[in-house]
Every structure is written in structure tokens, then in C-alpha cells.
């Protein structure tokens, strides 16, 4: 049997036709559209909505110091940092890349995700380096005579 005839026979025996491929593609398209509907109606969890109960973070923080805490939920890691210039900032400590924990590197003055070397600016939460696609969500902090409080998410 010649190669051409062998090829024709194999093609004739192909179990999946091009119309099947077209149907599969349309099905995938429907799945993606359904996923977009799920995003729009809020099936996926996201950090913060601006409303959360007030929670105490620490009594005090000195410049260069940071404290890790959970806010607004028990599973939401966050970090409060007293910058060298005296400003008090709070960020979600969940990396926006693949949700690893973000750590405060006092010697470098940066927030770093050790999983894939994502680096964030502690002053703004913006991505400085690495694969994270978004800046860190903000945690609103207030300081009074009783200590440092987390009062909401941004």
C-alpha cells in the first residue's frame, strides 16, 4: 500500500471531525462567558469592601518595625509597618500573584514574597519587581492613645 493511500485511510478513520472541533470550541466559549458572569456577580472572593469591624493591631510601633496580624477575617493576613519617616501603613500580606505570604524585610525596607520573588513598595503597595499583577490591597489603620487599630480595608 502506498504512503498516500495509507494517509488517506488514516484520515478517513479519524474519530474526531472538524465539526466536532467547532462544537468543542463553542462549548469552551460558553464556559468562558459563564466564568465572566461568575466574576461579575461576585462568586470570586476579593480583599476588602471598605467595611469591617475595628480591631487592635498593636500598642505601638517604632520606625522600621512591623507587625503581622489578621484582618478583616481570621484568614486574611495583613501587615502594619511604621516607615522610617514615621508614617503608619497597613497592607494585605497576601501576594497578588499566587497568594503566598508577603514578608517585611526591615534590612531592605521592602515587602517581599519569597515564593516567586515578588517585591512591593511598603509606602504605596505598588509592585516593584517580580510577577505579581496588582498592588497590595490597603488596610486602613488608626492610631490613638490606646494603640494602633485596623478600621477598614481599601
Amino acid at each position: 500500500m502506498s504512503d498516500r493511500a495509507q494517509l488517506d485511510r488514516i484520515r478517513a478513520d479519524t474519530p474526531v471531525t472538524r465539526r466536532d472541533y467547532l462544537r468543542i470550541l463553542v462549548t469552551v466559549s460558553a464556559g468562558l462567558a459563564a466564568g465572566a458572569v461568575g466574576v461579575a456577580v461576585g462568586l470570586f472572593r476579593r480583599h476588602g469592601g471598605g467595611t469591617a469591624a475595628r480591631a487592635k493591631v498593636a500598642d505601638r510601633l517604632d520606625p522600621g518595625q512591623a507587625v503581622a496580624f489578621r484582618y478583616p477575617g481570621a484568614d486574611d493576613r495583613a501587615v502594619a509597618i511604621r516607615l522610617a519617616d514615621g508614617r503608619l501603613v497597613g497592607w494585605s500580606a497576601v501576594c497578588t500573584h499566587l497568594a503566598c505570604a508577603v514578608l517585611w524585610r526591615s534590612e531592605d525596607g521592602l515587602l517581599e514574597c519569597p515564593c516567586h520573588d515578588g517585591v512591593f513598595d511598603p509606602a504605596t503597595g505598588e509592585v516593584v519587581a517580580g510577577p505579581p499583577p496588582r498592588p497590595l490591597p490597603r488596610v486602613e489603620l488608626r492610631e490613638d492613645g490606646d494603640g494602633i487599630w485596623a478600621v477598614g480595608t481599601g
Binding site: M1, A5, Q6, L7, D8, R9, I10, R11, A12, D13, T14, P15, R18, R19, Y21, L22, R23, L25, V26, V28, S29, A30, L32, A33, G35, A36, V37, V39, A40, G42, F44, R46, H47, G48, T96, P133, R134
Partner: protein, 179 residues
């Protein structure tokens, strides 16, 4: 089974062969019956019954017909002579439910009977594949927008996704001459 080489010098009519007097021990190799009364073994390729066509096996070298016959039971495709499962790639079959008597798909199999319709089908597949790639990108952007609380952007991307799906369905269904 006795083996006989008709091209060799041990043929029935050759000097010193089975028919020669004084050489009865050679009768087993020449195809003549070992014991009196047994039928003679047929020549290679000869029909077993009168009137049958001669066995035309292309694997048999006419000069040495016995070699392929000797090895036939041990070949990989032994017993598959008429099954359609012989050849270089005997395992390359379709669903496995074909009629094994069909050894060839017929003339023109695998080719496009209507090239215009086949081209339309290819174009539709390409369009829908492009739409799906765009939807993947749109879903990624929508997730980012959702995480950043850009709800208006999420709504726009939802419209984009639904419109893309509608176009994909239209392209899929828009084939009046399709089978």
C-alpha cells in the same frame, strides 16, 4: 511437514530423486508419500482442490516459495491475511468497529469532496478559536478588575464575553449548506 524444493536437483523427475530406483530414503524430502497409499503433497502455490485459482501470495518468492510458507505462521500478521490489519501500521485503525472485510476506504477517501464547504468550515474553526483566545484574555482582565474593585470595567468585560459567545454561536450555526 515435508519440504520440497522444486527448483533443486531433488525433484521427482530428477536423477536420484524420489522416483529413482534405489533411493527410497529421499522420498520424504521430494514430496512423494513416505508410506504407500498416502497422497502426494501439492506443489507450492497449487490449489488444494481442482478448479481453485492459484494462490497469488506476493510475499512468496517464486524461486524459493517454501521460505515464506515456512515462516508464515510466525509472522506478526499471521492469520490476518484478509482482515485488513496487515501492512506497515496495522494498529492504526479508527474506532475498531469497522467491517474487517473492508481493506480500503475506496477512491477519494480522505479528500474533500466539496473544497468550498471545507474551506468555510476551516474558516469558521479559525474564527471561533480566535474568539476563544480573546475571551481568555478578557476573563483575565475581568478578574484583575474585580480584585481592584473596578466594577464598571467588570461589567464592560462581561458584555464583551457575552457578545463574543454570541458571535461564536452565530459562526457555528451559520452554515446553511453544511451537513
Amino acid at each position: 511437514m515435508a519440504i520440497r524444493d522444486p527448483a533443486g536437483p531433488q525433484g521427482p523427475d530428477a536423477p536420484g530423486g524420489a522416483g529413482a530406483p534405489g533411493a527410497p530414503e529421499a522420498s520424504g524430502r521430494s514430496g512423494a508419500p513416505v508410506h504407500p497409499g498416502e497422497p502426494r503433497e501439492p506443489a507450492p502455490g497449487a490449489p488444494l482442490h481442482p478448479g481453485e485459482p492459484r494462490d497469488l501470495d506476493r510475499d512468496v518468492d517464486p524461486a524459493h516459495p517454501y521460505r515464506a510458507r515456512q515462516l508464515a505462521p510466525y509472522r506478526r500478521d499471521a492469520g490476518l491475511h484478509d482482515s485488513g490489519l496487515t501492512g506497515r501500521y496495522p494498529g492504526l485503525r479508527g474506532s475498531g468497529s469497522r467491517d474487517p472485510r473492508v481493506r480500503s476506504p475506496g477512491p477519494g477517501a480522505g479528500a474533500d469532496a466539496e473544497p468550498e464547504r471545507a474551506s468555510m468550515l476551516n474558516a469558521r474553526i479559525a474564527i471561533v478559536a480566535t474568539i476563544v483566545v480573546g475571551q481568555l484574555w478578557g476573563l483575565m482582565v475581568a478578574l484583575n478588575a474585580w480584585q481592584e474593585h473596578h466594577n464598571d470595567q467588570v461589567v464592560l468585560l462581561l458584555g464583551f464575553q457575552l457578545l463574543s459567545f454570541a458571535v461564536a454561536v452565530a459562526v457555528w450555526r451559520a452554515a446553511p449548506r453544511d451537513r
